[in-house]
């Protein structure tokens, strides 16, 4: 038996204890346990590892920005053991064939456990897709990969067609309210206004009675709509921590856009109070060269999978959010939303754990991260990186360096397609 020892978050509070692990699962939690492999973290925290349900690892097709190896290495070193990868690849992941092909390509490279989204369009073969058991994504505006959902009238039917128990996440921006020709971050907010997000969420609520996950909420007007019990939602660290007045220029260009300070504060309040369920990074790396182009042609997206837990833990330390709420938003609730046997330190759960020293505050630097893109919007911000990350009981990362590679497994959907 392997044993991880420290002050673990167990049954809603921190207790010094030993976590016994066999075959990748937590089998015992006791004050004292003997084991043949022991990892002791003294009085440092042991938390369930993070689950990031929204990342873009760019494989297949745009592996100069990121690939499954680099993306998932970053995830592990930032304390995330499970990621869900978006379908805007080249080729786009839109049917059984492209899904299985992506599954084959990335499967052996994944350092973290993973799930793969399939994009739903107005003409998707939902019967066939529902059998994959994977999560689904709807883009209500066009994407670089041409994945925008065409006829909004078909939205309800398509989302229901894949089966009520499947996860459907929607990027909510109404395409009729989204323009182009943006010149800078402030102007970008005119081009992609708050109303576009609010109108899209309203349309989603009207279109279907099934449960829907709203991706990256960013506009304060959206918050009251989230009280609908059929909706779950996520917010990104960049929408919590940055706004249109930041000096990031093209590096701060992302969809939905960075909005006003007042929107930013409303995101915090909604997260802390639980109106927004979870945090997801929307890790969307582009190279420095791509982001340095003139604002209107620079691609949208910022990286974040490796920094989301560290930067948020620094905000726990500052007193903006409790550790309990953060664990709920980055570990427990994402596991519940995706239906995973993870996210809590309990007997029977996967032994996905991170060890954290809350005094170990460091400066975040793009150069120290694993992403191929080589930069972060949080350059020089404070971060608390995990001391160690365990994936199903294996020590896969330690002191921000990889220990074991290629151990990731598909966690949602058919293991043998």
């Amino acid at each position: 038996m392997r044993v991880v020892e420290g002050r673990a978050f167990f049954r809603g509070r921190f207790e010094e204890c030993c976590i016994g692990i066999e075959n990748g699962k937590i089998t015992e939690i006791k004050k004292i346990l003997k084991g043949d492999e022991r990892h002791s973290f003294g009085s440092n925290y042991i938390l369930p590892a993070g689950i990031d349900i929204h990342v873009h690892f760019r494989e297949p097709g745009r592996t100069h920005k990121e690939d499954f190896r680099s993306g998932s290495a970053g995830a592990l070193c930032g304390g995330v053991t499970t990621i869900f990868d978006m379908p805007n690849n080249d080729p786009s992941i839109v049917d059984v064939r492209t899904y299985q092909e992506k599954r084959r390509i990335v499967g052996s490279k994944a350092n973290a456990d993973f799930g793969l989204y399939v994009a739903l369009k107005e003409n998707s073969s939902t019967d066939e897709l529902s059998k994959l058991g994977c999560p689904f994504k709807v883009y209500m505006t066009g994407t670089a990969a041409g994945l925008g959902f065409g006829e909004y009238d078909r939205l309800g039917e398509v989302c229901e067609g894949v089966g009520g128990d499947r996860h459907v996440g929607i990027h909510c921006e109404d395409k009729s309210l989204v323009g182009s020709g943006e010149r800078d971050l402030e102007d970008f907010l005119q081009v992609r206004p708050n109303e576009a997000e609010m109108a899209a969420i309203k349309r989603v609520i009207k279109s279907t009675d099934r449960k829907i996950h709203i991706c990256h909420v960013s506009a304060k007007e959206s918050i009251p709509l989230l009280e609908n019990p059929r909706l779950t939602s996520e917010v990104t660290p960049h929408h919590l921590l940055l706004n249109m007045n930041s000096d990031l220029e093209g590096f701060g260009k992302t969809n939905p856009p960075l909005r006003t300070k007042s929107d930013q504060m409303a995101m915090w309040e909604a997260l802390v109070s639980g109106k927004i369920d979870i945090i997801a990074s929307d890790h969307a790396p582009h190279t420095i060269e791509e982001k340095e182009q003139s604002f209107d042609v620079a691609p949208s997206g910022v990286p974040g999978v490796e920094t989301s837990i560290p930067v948020m833990l620094a905000y726990v330390k500052r007193g903006n959010i409790t550790i309990e709420r953060l664990i709920n938003a980055m570990m427990e609730r994402p596991a519940e939303i995706m239906g995973l046997n993870k996210g809590r330190i309990e007997v029977g759960m996967d032994a996905d754990l991170i060890a954290v020293d809350m005094h170990n505050v460091t400066k975040i630097r793009g150069d120290d991260l694993h992403s191929k893109c080589g930069w972060t919007p949080f350059e020089n911000w404070e971060g608390i990186f995990p001391l160690a990350t365990f994936l199903r009981g294996r020590l896969v990362a330690k002191d921000r360096e990889m220990q074991e590679t290629g151990k990731g497994k598909l966690v949602l959907g058919d293991e043998k397609p």
């Binding site: 930013q264 409303a266 309040e269 802390v272 903006n320």
Partner: protein, 311 residues
């Protein structure tokens, strides 16, 4: 090191060094005559303080309002979320945005832990935390320290007994930390299920503080200089009989005080229910009403420091 107080947010007692707290206590002492109305002080004339209370707390709000008025300033605010736009779902973000344009300093009470820090991050105006959920209530801690310091001439090496619900009572957590920083000797008296949480004890240890834990009040108060009493809430006990037993064990009356030094002072953050017998009120030991008054000079001192009208 002492940072400047000008324009500073008052969010958590942890934001202050010992030197800074000592400075606040000294300024508070100077404020007493004006706090009593014996001396005129109009140094904040023309300034406006807003009190935004998302949950009621009459004592804290009145004390802030009195403090601002005693310094010649004015107060705007609300304290009943039921009758304001908050009822209609207005967010903290929008509320802060509104009141920052009406006032020069914002006093906030909110049920959500972290609300004060959040508000402070999003407004240029100084924010004073008047309690955020299970979080911090720094001005209460400061007035408690001020009371011990003025009554006992010093805090260092004083024997302070903290009694009652030490597990859930946020006032005692911040107070224990601050007392340890000042080198007081602490005794935690509580039934086992309501003892001081480990995180707080570790915080005390990290400050180099000495402490003992016990459930026996009689022994603990023998050498005590200060007895700080908190309320034990009925809801914490699944069995009402168990509550009655515990509440009875820790009721402070004249009889139990015969075990204590004649100079012992009894403190309580108020409101009191049955944990201190009314017969104690007329003794020299009872300091809790004076403690409540002390909220005024301490809050005056903070306001004067924030507006930079005292050094």
């Amino acid at each position: 090191m002492t940072k400047t107080f000008k324009g500073r947010d008052i969010i958590s007692i942890h934001d202050f060094s010992r030197e800074e707290i000592e400075h606040i206590l000294k300024v508070s002492k100077d404020m007493i005559p004006a706090a009593r109305g014996e001396k005129r002080n109009l140094s904040l004339e023309g300034k406006i303080l807003s009190t935004i209370f998302f949950e009621p707390s009459t004592r804290t709000r009145l004390s802030f309002e009195a403090a601002m008025n005693r310094l010649g300033g004015s107060v705007v605010g609300f304290s009943d979320p039921e009758i304001t736009s908050l009822k209609k779902g207005e967010t903290l973000a929008d509320t802060i945005r509104m009141v920052e344009s009406y006032s020069d300093v914002i006093v906030l009470r909110h049920p959500m832990e972290g609300a004060a820090k959040l508000a402070a991050d999003f407004t240029e105006k100084p924010v004073i935390n008047a309690g955020d959920g299970a979080g911090q209530h720094p001005t209460q801690t400061l007035l408690d320290l001020f009371t011990i310091w003025t009554e006992k001439k010093d805090i260092e090496d004083k024997n302070v007994v903290l009694l009652g619900d030490l597990k859930y009572g946020r006032t005692v957590h911040s107070l224990a930390y601050a007392l340890a920083m000042f080198g007081a000797n602490l005794t935690f008296v509580a039934p086992e299920v309501l003892q001081m949480p480990k995180e707080v004890v570790e915080h005390v240890e990290r400050q180099g503080g000495s402490y003992t834990s016990t459930n026996a009040l009689e022994d603990a108060i023998e050498s005590a200089d200060v007895l700080y009493v908190t309320r034990i809430q009925k809801e914490r006990f699944p069995d009402p009989a168990e509550y009655e037993k515990v509440a009875g064990m820790y009721r402070v009356d004249n009889e139990i005080l015969t075990n204590a030094s004649k100079d012992i002072i009894v403190m309580h953050p108020l409101p009191r229910v049955t944990e201190i017998s009314p017969e104690v009120d007329t003794t020299e030991h009872a300091i809790y009403f004076k403690q409540a008054f002390n909220g005024v000079p301490v809050r005056m001192a903070l306001l004067a420091l924030i507006f930079d009208v005292v050094k």
